[in-house]
């Protein structure tokens, strides 16, 4: 636990003249589930996109001792960062199996890939039933499972999750969070971005509350869940 895992310091992101994230610092330790919560437009997704190399940023991001600054996204994936983007990012023209296999682009261990494929299909029987179907024909919940399955196939050690509950029925949200806890139990570290703050804070060991590009509150999941200021951050003062 003492070895620094993900350390983000003074991260700033801007789109043209508009600054979306201002000098945000936080850390995630190995084996934790940490959540970033905040209202729409608080900069949560931007932070995840910066961590996986999709958008430029200033400040430093260190992942297991490696500086992620200026690193292209495919190399960051190779380091073990798996990003499940907002809207899940399923390739609708590729079959379920192809979606899963594509996520192993950076892996060279054929045997391990086959084992992981069996594991994913066993964990999500719905995907197994539909493995030859194009990803675009899946329901929202199935697509989210496929997105998680892809992250497992890439052997992500750090899982960046952007709004996994978005657009899903409550029963499916519970399923997804159950899988997240399972993955975490097997050693995957998770950084979770959510608008569904209550669900996220109940699952996470620690959380950070973002408001217009800044961290305004931090604490354990339980503390934040009970804190009236969290609600304020959502509704505005």
């Amino acid at each position: 636990m003492s070895r620094p895992y993900l350390v983000v310091s003074e991260l700033s992101i801007s789109y043209g003249n508009i600054s979306a994230v201002r000098k945000v610092s936080f850390r995630v330790d190995e084996g934790e589930i940490v959540t970033l919560i905040g209202a729409n437009g608080a900069g949560k997704s931007s932070i995840l996109r910066a961590l996986s190399g999709l958008i430029p940023f200033s400040g430093t991001v260190m992942f297991r001792g490696t500086d992620l600054g200026n690193m292209p996204p495919d190399r960051i994936v190779a380091l073990g960062v798996a990003h499940v983007p907002e809207g899940r990012g399923i390739f609708g023209n590729l079959s379920v199996l192809e979606n899963l296999r594509l996520a192993t682009w950076q892996r060279k261990d054929g045997d391990g890939v086959r084992r992981d494929l069996d594991r994913v299909l066993a964990l999500f029987p719905r995907l197994n039933e539909r493995k030859e179907q194009p990803g675009g024909t899946l329901s929202g919940g199935e697509q989210q499972m496929l997105a998680l399955g892809r992250a497992m196939m890439s052997r992500g050690n750090l899982l960046l999750l952007d709004e996994p509950s978005m657009g899903l029925a409550p029963v499916l949200v519970r399923d997804i969070f159950r899988v997240l806890r399972e993955l975490n139990g097997e050693g995957t570290t998770i950084l979770l971005v959510e608008q569904n703050a209550h669900m996220a804070l109940q699952t996470a060991s620690r959380g950070y509350v973002l408001e217009t590009g800044r961290i305004v509150l931090t604490g354990t999941g339980r503390e934040l869940d009970a804190d009236p200021r969290v609600k304020e951050a959502y509704l505005g003062k």
């Binding site: 190399g53 999709l54 994936v77 798996a82 590729l94 192809e98």
Partner: protein, 291 residues
């Protein structure tokens, strides 16, 4: 009867050349949603590379083919890097205008090096089989066979390999593909290499079949192949192949029954009619523009 078989062979020969070129248009469109209007001129470069290989280096068929394919593939990759990549975030129309400019550059660069039409020496021995009224040459058989082999290889690559999967993934959503660990720029380069390489192969075969070549030969053939790609459904690989053969057949049919000057008119009329009734082509799917 013989006459029909004869014309079918002619249609297959012309169609397979159109199909090979159409693949380049459709692959680039599929992955970057831009029309590479320099593609017809890359086809011309392929023919000239074959001319250089045969005339100055006295290469035989296979080495000349490899030179044409690899030379145009490399040129395609370089053009993408220096002319199109800087415009990837720009409006599509900027990239398309740039492509037109690159095409004009290629024409005039070739013209500056070589202002005269050239004759490609025959690389395939002039063997012709005759059955009654039916006659076909070894060259004709080779063009059709080679084109079909190249198309089957491409179809396999796109459908069954990781690189092909990555190409399809990028064409669906360029922003998510890097999160799968896909090196997007390298896949785009590979797409250009394969697409223009096929165009180069087509240039060589066209040059052998109709051996007088000049720097402007790519313009009309390029437009025809572009029509093929649109007829088949731009962005769709099997569509481009089908479109190429359809256009080849239409042109041979027109030339068989009407004065041959009607050929181009009918080809372009086909495009216009199709755009009215089936704007997404034969195999293309109507696709809502993503915002």
């Amino acid at each position: 009867m013989f006459y029909i078989i004869q014309q079918t062979l002619n249609a297959l020969q012309l169609g397979s050349i159109y199909a090979l070129i159409a693949l380049g248009y459709t692959m680039v469109y599929g992955i970057l949603t831009m029309i590479n209007f320099a593609h017809g001129d890359l086809f011309m470069v392929g023919a000239f590379l074959c001319f250089v290989a045969a005339t100055f280096f006295h290469m035989s068929f296979i080495p000349a083919l490899l030179l044409s394919i690899l030379g145009t593939a490399l040129l395609g990759v370089v053009i993408e890097k220096f002319a199109y990549k800087p415009l990837r975030q720009a409006p599509r129309v900027s990239a398309i205008i740039t492509a037109l400019g690159v095409g004009i550059f290629l024409e005039n660069f070739t013209l500056a090096l070589n202002p005269y039409p050239r004759f490609i020496p025959p690389l395939v021995c002039n063997l012709t089989w005759t059955f009654g009224e039916l006659s076909f040459s070894l060259l004709q058989v080779m063009i059709i066979t080679l084109s079909v082999i190249l198309m089957l290889l491409l179809d396999f690559t796109v459908r069954r390999t990781m690189v092909g999967m990555a190409m399809r993934a990028i064409s669906w959503d360029k922003s998510v593909a890097p999160l799968m660990g896909i090196p997007v720029n390298r896949i785009i380069s590979a797409t250009f290499a394969i697409g223009t390489g096929l165009g180069g192969a087509a240039g060589m075969m066209y040059g052998l079949a109709y051996p007088v070549i000049d720097p402007y030969m790519g313009i009309m053939v390029g437009w025809k192949a572009f029509i093929s790609a649109v007829v088949g459904g731009i962005g769709n690989i099997r569509g481009a192949m089908i479109g190429g053969f359809i256009l080849g057949a239409v042109e041979i049919l027109v030339a068989a029954f009407f004065p041959s000057t009607y050929r181009d008119f009918v080809a372009f009329a086909l495009l216009l009619v199709l755009l009215i009734f089936r704007p997404h082509g034969i195999l293309g799917k109507p696709h809502a523009q993503k915002v």
